[in-house]
């Protein structure tokens, strides 16, 4: 197994172009598990730990640009106001030790449907930045997940960053697991409201072959939500939203939970997310008034 250790971003892109089957590794928390399991025997590893800009974060034309290697801990510690849903998800990732190393880029690279970072990226309509020697392109997270562990990333591309829109309303992430900590989600859900565009975003994790959106639920809540006064939606509306989220999932039965339970849990999390959103929205109105 070759070990490629570029020290600049340009070298990294060149290496990936020359070795499209090289597996990028940074924090190691996704890739190493695969390696240590013996599930994967890549011909080469492409170590990105020496590329400083992958750990950078900062504003970028109305977005928060988050380098693909920014550890979850940094998101929790420094970026929680700029990316509330993702910060909440970051706090739920695996263990504190893994949060010190693992990054959104790694989650996107592995594209496990159970990855905690995916639902917030879908809900907030984040962009994924992909780079190669051919150039840079940005793909909406909503277009990124193609199938089980298959994504829009091409073989010669590296994930360089994610771009998170400025929060324009309440955001949340929640997850249900069978252990109280250090647990792979049985199901997870993220909700983001955009008060300016008056749109709703959703993301569903661990309940389908890829991370999913509940598009019908988004449209429904966007039309029912009281964007001016944040009056509590009727119980029927909340229930309907939960049903629409659940029906968007494509879960299976596995050792963590049944498809039936996953749908149920999603409807519960969706209903909770609405009530949190209403509360947060009202706080925001009160602050602006």
């Amino acid at each position: 197994m070759d070990f490629l250790s570029p020290s600049t971003w340009e070298e990294a892109l060149a290496a990936k172009s020359a070795h499209p089957d090289a597996v990028p590794i940074m924090g190691g928390t996704d890739v190493m598990v695969e390696l240590n399991f013996g599930r994967r025997r890549p011909p080469a590893l492409l170590d990105l730990t020496r590329i400083p800009q992958l750990r950078d974060h900062g504003p970028d034309d109305g977005y928060l640009r988050l380098g693909a290697g920014v550890p979850y801990t940094t998101i929790i510690e420094r970026l929680r106001d700029r990316s509330p849903a993702l910060a909440q998800a970051a706090r739920a990732v695996a263990s504190p030790q893994i949060r010190n190393r693992g990054s959104v880029g790694g989650n996107l690279g592995g594209a496990s449907p159970a990855g905690d970072a995916h639902p917030p990226l879908l809900a907030v309509d984040a962009l994924v930045e992909l780079a190669s020697v051919r150039g840079v392109r940005r793909v909406a997270a909503r277009e990124f997940y193609h199938g089980p562990r298959r994504t829009a990333r091409r073989d010669d591309e590296l994930i360089s960053a994610v771009l998170l829109p400025e929060p324009a309303g309440p955001q949340s992430f929640s997850k249900i697991g069978t252990r109280n900590a250090m647990v792979i989600a049985v199901a997870s859900f993220s909700l983001a409201l955009d008060a300016q565009a008056r749109t709703v975003g959703t993301g569903i994790g661990s309940a389908g072959p890829t991370p999913l959106r509940a598009i019908e639920a988004e449209k429904f809540l966007a039309s029912e939500f009281d964007w001016d006064g944040a009056a509590s939606p009727s119980p029927a509306t909340v229930t309907r939203f939960g049903e629409l989220v659940a029906s968007a999932a494509r879960p299976i039965d596995d050792v963590r939970g049944s498809a039936h339970y996953r749908r149920h849990a999603l409807s519960v999390m969706a209903r909770r997310a609405v009530s949190w959103a209403v509360t947060d929205y009202r706080k925001e109105i009160a602050r602006c008034a």
Binding site: M1, D2, M32, V33, N36, T73, I76, E77, P96, A181
Partner: protein, 170 residues
């Protein structure tokens, strides 16, 4: 394929030629004879291999040794000073925060790293609102120590030990 690296472990420098597949954990245990970090699962699922890498707690089994060239590694063996146990270690002894001892060096490193994280003001997953200023109550300790499994079931005593160590360090 092999690479030459330098690891700094508990204040001592080790020049080392490693197979690029070798994890930091295996390099410490099998190459340097530093067996304080333990191998419990090799997948970042148990925390027994927790060490401080450049001051932060990490799983030694999820890091390649070759990627640690020039890094500073502190294991439980390197925490004390002048032959004295670190306050966290003393608290584990006083409150019997272990039984078989196999997860213990990882628990200790995790607790030391965690207390520093709290001092730096990082929130954990225990409370929902993200902007909370952390207060290290027992629920926070449990959550923040949940990356370290203990099969003997010493958790109740581990929480007591960490709480006691926090008081000492104040």
């Amino acid at each position: 394929m092999e690479s030459d690296i330098i690891l700094r472990v508990n204040g001592r420098e080790w020049p080392l030629r490693v197979d690029t597949r070798t994890t930091l954990l295996d390099a410490l245990r099998e190459r340097l004879g530093v067996t304080s970090p333990k191998k419990g699962c090799d997948h970042g699922q148990c925390g027994a291999c927790t060490v401080l890498l450049d001051g932060r707690r990490i799983n030694g089994c999820l890091v390649l040794a070759v990627a640690c060239d020039g890094s500073e590694v502190v294991t439980a063996e390197g925490l004390g000073t002048d032959g004295e146990l670190h306050p966290v270690q003393q608290a584990f002894v006083d409150h019997d925060g272990f039984q078989c001892g196999y997860c213990t060096p990882g628990q200790v490193c995790s607790a030391v790293g965690m207390l520093e994280e709290v001092a730096a003001g990082w929130p954990s997953a225990a409370g929902r609102p993200v902007a909370d200023t952390p207060v290290l109550d027992d629920a926070e300790i449990r959550e923040r120590m949940s990356g370290n499994l203990c099969r003997c079931g010493a958790y109740a005593n581990i929480v007591t030990a960490v709480r006691a160590a926090k008081e000492v360090s104040r």
